[in-house]
Structures are given as structure tokens and as C-alpha cells.
């Protein structure tokens, strides 16, 4: 082998090692992100059972799963130190967004608030030499895309609540989605953001469904009042089926 070729082979052996290390690291982030996504979805399902179970049981279940999710984040955090956080953000962000959706739903159900980015980071914090520090970084984009997925789950909660006759829940959902829609529109005024724009149709259709549900509930209430003298059976027979309105 000529000295020139020897040098080339030596260099490229080293490049191969570097690229292998990079691809392996990327794979590890993808795996963690997938696991975080799966567990976050379980948290969402647990939270949506709030219309069947007691809130205490539901939040206890969610807290237990949340503890597990933090372990997954700790695992992923190893790969996301320093500049690597942005380097592998595209691989990490799906998990981060699903997590934000889960804790966002939790915050809405428990406190009727929109979770803020700093609250998300607080939830992701662990003790480092007596100080609380977030396990991973959360970009503004991660946060926005995470909360913009809330309408779907809030919609499910709302429909379940209608089935239970929980009028207040429907009102809360309505206001929440209206605020979310206004907020997202505000942000889209400032910058072109395709990923966020893609969420807008879902947001709009979720809002429409809830408004229709509220409409049918209101109509039924008016009818109930109107027919309060008549036997209940007649009033129910004229009931507008909530299911047909919502599909």
C-alpha cells in the first residue's frame, strides 16, 4: 500500500468511528423518545379516566407514571448534554412534545390552567447539588407544538363529560380551547411556522365540536325548562342525540 493510501485508510477508519458513535447516539435518543411517548400516552389515558374514577385516584396514577417518565428523561438527558441538545432535538422532540401534552392535560384538569414552559421545566427537574435543574432542555418550539396537541385530548375529556352531564367541564373546555386558538394565532402572526400551522385545522375542528356539544346541551336545557310541566319521558323523546351532533 502506498503511503498516500495508508494515510487515507487511517483517516477514514477514524471518520467511521466518529460517524458510528454519532449514529449510535442518535439511535439511543430515538429509543428514549419513543419510550417517553408511549408512557406519556399512558398518562393521558389515565387522566381521561377522570370522568369515571375519582380525581384522587386518577392523579395518583398519573403521578406514579410521571415518576417513571422522569427516569426515561434522565436516561435521555445523558445523550443531550451541551450542544448535543440541539444536535439531537429532532429525534428527542416527539417524546418531549407528548410529555408536554400529558402534563398540559393534567394541569388543565387539576387547576384549569394552561401549563407554562417554566412549569414544564419544573416538572422535569431534579436535584443537582442542592439546586433544582431541569433534566433536559425544552425549546419554545417543543413547548408550542406540545400544547398545540392538547385540543384532541381536551375534546375527548369534553365528550366524556357531556355523557356525565358535567356542564361546567364543557364550559371550561370551551374557554380553554378558545384561549389556545387565540394564542396560537398570535404566535403565527409573528413568524412563519409550518409545524404549528399544521395543528390549526385540528384545533379548529376540536373547538367546533365542543361548541356544537355546548349548543346541543343548551338547547336541551331550554327544552327541559320549557317542558318542565310535561312528563320527563316526552321531553327525552324530543332530545337531540348528542352523538349525531358531534360526528
Amino acid at each position: 500500500m502506498s503511503p498516500c493510501k495508508q494515510q487515507i485508510m487511517a483517516s477514514f477508519n477514524a471518520y467511521r468511528d466518529t460517524l458510528d458513535a454519532h449514529y449510535d447516539q442518535r439511535e439511543r435518543v430515538i429509543k428514549c423518545s419513543r419510550d417517553i411517548t408511549a408512557l406519556s400516552k399512558k398518562i393521558v389515558f389515565a387522566l381521561l379516566r377522570i370522568t369515571q374514577d375519582t380525581p384522587e385516584a386518577v392523579f395518583k396514577d398519573a403521578a406514579a407514571k410521571h415518576k417513571q417518565v422522569l427516569e426515561l428523561f434522565a436516561k435521555m438527558a445523558v445523550e443531550l448534554q451541551g450542544s448535543n441538545a440541539m444536535k439531537y432535538n429532532r429525534q428527542a422532540t416527539p417524546g418531549i412534545q407528548e410529555y408536554i401534552e400529558a402534563v398540559g392535560l393534567w394541569r388543565f384538569l387539576e387547576h384549569n390552567q394552561l401549563i407554562t414552559k417554566s412549569q414544564v421545566l419544573e416538572g422535569l427537574s431534579h436535584d443537582v447539588d442542592g439546586q433544582l435543574q431541569p433534566l433536559v432542555a425544552v425549546t419554545d418550539e417543543d413547548y408550542l407544538l406540545g400544547i398545540s396537541d392538547l385540543p384532541g385530548e381536551v375534546n375527548r375529556y369534553c365528550i366524556n363529560s357531556i355523557g356525565k352531564g358535567d356542564r361546567d367541564a364543557v364550559i371550561r373546555c370551551l374557554e380553554f380551547l378558545r384561549t389556545l386558538k387565540e394564542g396560537v394565532s398570535l404566535v403565527l402572526c409573528t413568524r412563519k411556522y409550518r409545524d404549528l400551522e399544521k395543528k390549526v385545522p385540528v384545533l379548529n375542528s376540536s373547538l367546533e365540536k365542543i361548541e356544537k356539544a355546548f349548543y346541543s346541551m343548551s338547547i336541551r336545557e331550554n327544552e327541559m325548562q320549557h317542558f318542565s310541566a310535561a312528563p320527563p319521558a316526552e321531553a327525552l323523546a324530543m332530545d337531540v342525540d348528542s352523538r349525531t351532533i358531534l360526528t
Partner: protein, 220 residues
């Protein structure tokens, strides 16, 4: 529940807008100078080996300009956000690396090393998979640049025959073959690097065809 969260985000994005514009302008300038340099260096295809070396000398001021463009761009980028914006300039950087590779081959008939690239472009090539604390040229950008060299080499082989330099294609093909062996050591994933790597074999084929044409006519 109010909209303060979103208003704050709006403000933050507004402030980022001017940074984004500066970055965009810097990349535009970087791209422009690269294209100019590429045009000048491309003239070497119609020249002899010796004239090619002169062309390389005459292009050195252009490289100084490129170096300045990259420095201007790097000044805008904080290391923690490097990978956030890197996609925007990566094409221009790959071109810059390709220009260095071509220039060094024309001048010294050897492969441009990361150290060469650092000398010409002013920033280190990140050959390790480690955290970075400053603006770098990524290993992928360097490798993309080297892959571009294969295309120049196959053209050079063809054009050498046109300017009646019959010995040169043999040297070019031998060099290309060694370089290709190096590339084949890499484990690539299905990304742009892999796709461009796959195109190398067509350049190798063209060089072998030139070799064959020459030898079958007993010209060399």
C-alpha cells in the same frame, strides 16, 4: 387563563427575527462568494496541469473572502445554538469544502485533510463526536466536500485527454481508487451522505472508461 404566555413568545420571536435576517444575509454572501470561486476554479478543466496550478494560485484571494464570510457568520452564532441553525448554511459549507479539496488536488495532487480545510476556511473540522464549544465545520460537511471531488476528478480525466495530457488520467484514476477505498470503510445510514456516496461509482466508472479508451488505442 390569559394570553400572557403567547404574548411573551411573540416578543421572543420578534427579537429573534432580526438575528434570523442577519444569519440569512451572511449565508447569502457566503454562498455568493463560493459560487464565484467555483466558477474561477472550474476553468482548470480546460487547462493543462501546470496552468491548473496557476489557476489555484490566482484563486487564493477568493478563499480569503470565503474565510471572512464564514467568520462573519460564525460571529452571529452562539455555540449552544449551533445545531439549531446549521441546516441553513450546510450546503454552502459543503461547497466550500469541495472547493478546498479541488484546489488542493489541482495544486498538490493529494487529498485535502481537515487541517487543510481549517487553514483555508478558518474553522476546525469536528472530527470527533463530542460536544462543541465553538463554531465548527462538521465531519459530514467535510465528507460531502470530498465526495464532490470525485466528480471533478472524472471531468478532469476526460478533459486531460482533450488537452493532450495522456498520462494524467492514470494518475487521477489511481488517486480516485485509493480515495474510494477509504470511503468504503464508512458505515453509512440512509441519508444524504449515503445517496451522494452512491453516486461516486459513476465517476469511478467514467475514469475507468477513459483509462480503457487510452490503453486500447495504445496511446499511453
Amino acid at each position: 387563563m390569559d394570553l400572557q404566555v403567547f404574548i411573551d413568545l411573540q416578543d421572543k420571536f420578534d427579537r429573534e427575527t432580526s438575528l434570523n435576517e442577519s444569519i440569512r444575509d451572511a449565508i447569502k454572501e457566503f454562498d455568493r462568494v463560493c459560487r464565484l470561486t467555483s466558477a474561477k476554479l472550474g476553468k482548470a478543466h480546460s487547462l493543462t496541469q501546470e496552468q491548473g496550478r496557476e489557476t489555484v494560485e490566482s484563486v487564493k484571494p477568493r478563499f480569503a473572502e470565503i474565510k471572512q464570510c464564514i467568520a462573519a457568520l460564525a460571529a452571529l452564532i452562539k455555540p449552544e445554538t449551533f445545531y439549531k441553525y446549521q441546516d441553513r448554511w450546510t450546503n454552502a459549507m459543503q461547497t466550500a469544502c469541495a472547493l478546498v479539496a479541488f484546489s488542493i488536488y489541482l495544486g498538490e495532487a493529494r487529498l485535502a485533510t481537515p487541517e487543510d480545510v481549517q487553514q483555508y476556511l478558518g474553522f476546525k473540522v469536528n472530527t470527533e463526536n463530542t460536544d462543541i464549544s465553538e463554531f465548527v465545520i462538521t465531519l459530514e460537511e467535510y465528507l460531502h466536500g470530498i465526495i464532490s471531488l470525485f466528480n471533478e476528478l472524472s471531468r478532469l480525466a476526460v478533459n486531460s485527454v482533450i488537452v493532450k495530457d495522456i498520462k494524467r488520467p492514470q494518475e487521477i484514476a489511481a488517486f480516485a481508487s485509493e480515495l474510494y477505498s477509504g470511503f468504503q470503510l464508512l458505515n453509512l445510514k440512509n441519508d444524504s451522505l449515503r445517496r451522494r456516496f452512491d453516486s461516486i461509482k459513476y465517476d469511478i466508472k467514467r475514469m475507468e472508461e477513459v483509462q480503457f479508451d487510452i490503453s486500447i488505442r495504445n496511446l499511453a
